[in-house]
Amino acid sequence: MTRSDGGCGDQIMQNALQMVYLIPLLPLLGFLINGLGRKQLSKPAISLIGCGTLLVSFALSIWVFLQVKGGNVHTAHYFDFISVGKLNIPFAFKIDQLSSLFLLIITGVGFLIHVYSSSYMQEEKPEHFGRYFSYLNLFIFSMLLLVMGANFVVMFIGWEGVGLCSYLLIGFWFKKQEYNKAASKAFIMNRIGDLAFLIAIFWLIAKLGTVSFDEVFTATNLAKLKTFDITVITLLLFVGATGKSAQIPLYTWLPDAMAGPTPVSALIHAATMVTAGIYMIARSNILYSLAPFTMDIIAYIGLATALLAATIALKQNDIKKVLAYSTVSQLGFMFLALGCGAYTAAVFHVMTHAFFKALLFLGSGSVIHAMGGEQDIRNMGGLSKKLKITFITFLIGCIAIAGIPPFSGFFSKDAILLSAFIKNPVLYGVALFAALLTAFYMFRLLFTTFSGKFRGTHEQEHHLHESPPAMTIPLIVLAILAIIGGFVGIPEVFIHGGDKLGEFLSPVITEQEHHVSHSTEYMLMGLSTGLVIAMIIFAWSKFRNYQRSEATGFGKVLENKWYVDEFYDAAIVKPIKKAGTFFNQVFDNKVIDGIVNGVGRLLHYGSRQLRLVQSGQAGSYILLMVISMVVIFVIQFFIRK
């Protein structure tokens, strides 16, 4: 059943890479064991299974990564998933530079978050603890399918799978209907994107008859596609990406998704799942490079999202909501990079973002944990004294996301800004503005939370404590990664050949070469770094001693997220509900059933009327007889003619 093709390297290694199925299989096993045995297993056993399976997967991913780095790429074919007529969709995994990099991010960050969760979720009952870990493992499984899939369909399986896990984990505390609503919202908005993704797949099948990456992205097949087809397919795929990666217009589910446990927000709604859209577009970069119109759209949407989410984040008071909008904004940056053709920069930012955003979310989890479930930053303040490790790591995360050299965010964000500059200086200007907003709201968050005086209740103040090692160690590891993660992609101007990531990804990503003079590049970097530092000082002066105040005017619009949710509700949800009610109560009952029953009633009524003719009077019968005879004669008379 196995077949080896593609890639180079010796045959033995080829067969060894065939074993990559173990990487997703182990989390799946963990899911099954924890899910079915959640009532029997103890909490330590559950966390051991949950984390252990992932640790092995991580180790395997490192091995796979090294193999790929050694130039050994492979497509592992397992069985035919669907084979109808000429269409053949194999269940196959593609291991190349891009997917092996994502494997590392997913299993690595995933493992850290699993470890963190084993402490964070300690207060849950064993069966819910088991349920939590089984969902988390299922998520990792689906995410791995998504990135390992060798064709769009296997990718789609993972794509919907992560959506499902997101749904299950957002609504993890299912007693609260509000959380469940947020979960449904996330699933349904994702489904809208998924539909577009599906239609793109069908379009590909209709035009090319195949969905395998290896076959679609060949010159002969791409030559068969008209420009119109490519534009439509890429646009549809992008709509799919806007759903999963929370871009305009489908971004509103992500802030609501913060209803789930904080590690979930870190793993799914910051580090991995939401970057699936970027992965998909980077994977199909050959297709996108042929569709300049789509690229423009992606750049504009990405930039608009980055700006919109950043403005909303300025005025949010829920610690996780700020981070959620920050995630939306950062994803917008990644799409901007994709739209500018800088796929490597986007993937680079995915990686660094996974480090610092997971760090920030886990840090906020640590804060929430210390505050006994409190998430409103207006009720925090001065936490730096009690939560030293959390504070320092959070600070590192903030510096990284703000983009101060030499932290990781600087390199990836700089690469994005540069690509925007190359495409259009106006894009650069707006993107820089959004980046400044990012620095501002992140340090607003940091200062309100950690400096000044404590503004919560006495009980909370008494309860304040640093989190246990199982939570702080992942924080420290992620903080280190957030510092050094950027060194894999040092721009050419600093060190020749410093862009290791670009080099590594070059076999799967083809980018157009652009050259900007070194002086321009230095100037852009200096400008952004200087402005960011200015912004941080501004935020420090403003929020060092935060005082509670009500938002007014434009601030209120921002606090209410530009009223987008309200607009969607009024423009889409309500009309649909109204139409449903109308169809249900009026159309189905009165019109259709009315017609059906009307036919019956008409017959009923007609027969009752006809019965009156039969009066029993002999005279009337005779009269009828005569009349009918006359009528028959007349008719016959005319027919003869």
């Binding site: 998933f81 007529g85 799978g161 299912f174 349904i188 069908f202 509900k577 449903g580 169809f583």
Partner: protein
């Protein structure tokens, strides 16, 4: 031999069930015989899948040119398998239920099975019509004897509705019979009828209406929510899981190969109607409070998609329909089992009165969620394969407006997610209330039935190829017929 046995076994055991007075005994009898039928159909699938076992013919009404001939192609095998799987599931799930006049109940259920089986197997138009009605009659008695409060009026509506449809089909059959070269009802002679597309229009619509009522397709659907709501749940499972497939099977064996030209000509129109019906039913399902009616409308939406898939008239779409017929049957029986359990334990079907079942009945909730997710075609569940292929067929079909059709049908998929998740949220999640506080988790027999269903869902979702291989012969021959028509029109 196999095909004859598949009809005779339920018929004779049903007859015997009339004479078993003890309720427990008759229940066991029904379960055992339904299992025996299952074994026979599996035998036909694996070991004895040669035409000499699968076909049967003997003299019936030679003067009319009708014979008692049975034929079992891939589609029929799949649906017979569905029929034979459905019955044990229904009996297992209803193991702890008591019926008045249990012997009559089980006997009629088995008769219905024989009738449905005959519809799937008949290779003679008159025989097909005969079994079509034969399947209806036990259903009528089951609904009118053991149904809910409004059963008389509702069953009457159901009967008249389907009966009118059947009569239209009879007219169509007789018309076609008149056109056969050798004045015979046999399927081969029907395949040899030579009519222009225009002449075919009338028999096409007559026959399609009969099938559309059975499926049901908007706007001929209004009997269905009422009947599903009022019929005893065991009967509803059979009605929705197996009987509605009779209409689709009619398309496959009696409409498309016989009246190919008109089927092609009217494909666009029918597709549009079915898609409108999908969105319409989904919107209604979104606003339902009654669980049974919700499932009923959801079923209308799904069947609409199946009809769309049939009329794509290409390999992908029709293969999708084949596997989806099987999947839909399995999934909806699972949903009914869950709904039935909830109704029996809480005494209500209103979602507004339910909530918090996940705390009280975790196993039930787990099954419920998995089946509901299969209902919205999540990948790696059985329905995904079917819907994927149908949508693929729709976009790749030769109809003029295929892109818009796909988008419109896709909207109903999104709405499907919305109403299914709403159902889960309202029933399973949230806090418990006084109605749901004392609910116990599902009993062992329920777990068994739902467990089998979940296994089937996942198995067909992960490795669907055997089912696709089984039916590829039927769809290939249909596709060939349509290709001929298409080419003729292109000239």
């Amino acid at each position: 031999m196999i095909s004859l046995l598949l009809i005779l076994l339920p018929l004779l055991t049903g007859l015997a069930a009339f004479f078993i007075k003890d309720e427990k005994l008759v229940r066991t009898w029904a379960l055992l015989t339904s299992l025996a039928t299952l074994v026979v159909s599996i035998l036909g699938l694996c070991c004895m899948n040669d035409t000499k076992y699968l076909e049967y013919e003997c003299e019936w009404l030679p003067s009319l040119g009708a014979s008692f001939s049975l034929k079992m192609d891939g589609a029929a095998q799949l649906l017979c398998l569905l029929n034979t799987i459905a019955y044990p599931l229904v009996f297992i799930a209803g193991w702890d239920k008591t019926y008045k006049n249990a012997k009559n109940f089980f006997a009629l259920m088995l008769f219905a099975q024989a009738g449905i089986m005959g519809v799937f197997l008949a290779a003679d138009a008159l025989l097909f019509y005969f079994f079509w009605e034969l399947a209806l009659i036990p259903m009528y008695f089951l609904c009118s004897q053991w149904g809910g409060e409004k059963r008389i009026a509702v069953t009457f509506k159901f009967f008249i509705y389907t009966f009118v449809g059947s009569l239209l089909m009879l007219i169509s059959i007789l018309y076609l019979y008149g056109q056969t070269p050798d004045h015979s009802f046999s399927i081969e002679s029907f395949y040899n009828i030579n009519l222009t597309s225009k002449q075919q229009s009338l028999p096409f619509w007559l026959m399609f209406v009969a099938f559309a009522v059975k499926m049901p397709i908007f706007p001929l659907h209004t009997w269905q929510p009422d009947t599903y709501e009022q019929a005893p749940t065991s009967t509803t499972m059979i009605l929705s899981g197996v009987m509605v497939k009779m209409g689709l099977f009619g398309l496959i064996r009696w409409l498309f190969p016989v009246i190919t030209g008109a089927s092609f000509m009217w494909g666009d129109v029918v597709t549009l109607i079915a898609i409108i019906g999908m969105i319409y039913a989904s919107l209604i399902a979104l606003r339902q409070d009654d669980l049974k009616r919700l499932v009923a409308y959801s079923s209308i939406a799904h069947i609409g998609l199946l009809c769309v898939g049939m009329f794509t008239q290409n390999a992908s779409g029709m293969q999708g329909v084949m596997i989806q017929m099987f999947s839909h049957g399995i999934n909806i029986i699972g949903l009914w089992i869950v709904v039935d359990w909830i109704e029996r334990k809480t005494g209500t079907r209103k979602m507004s009165e339910l909530g918090g079942l996940a705390q009280k009945a975790p196993a039930l909730t787990m099954f419920f969620v998995i089946i509901a997710l299969a209902n919205i075609a999540l990948p790696l569940t059985n329905a995904f394969v079917g819907e994927f292929l149908i949508f693929n067929g729709l976009l790749g079909s030769f109809t003029q407006y295929y892109v818009w059709y796909t988008v419109l049908a896709g909207i109903s998929i999104i709405l499907g997610a919305a109403y299914t998740l709403r159902m889960i949220r309202k029933v399973a999640y949230g806090e418990t209330n006084e109605i749901t506080a004392s609910v116990k988790d599902i009993s062992l027999n329920g777990r068994l039935a739902l467990g089998i269903i979940v296994v089937l869902i996942l198995a067909a979702g992960i490795y669907p190829q055997p089912i696709l291989d089984l039916t590829s012969g039927v769809t290939d021959s249909l596709v060939d017929k349509f290709d001929i028509i298409r080419k003729a029109l292109l000239k």
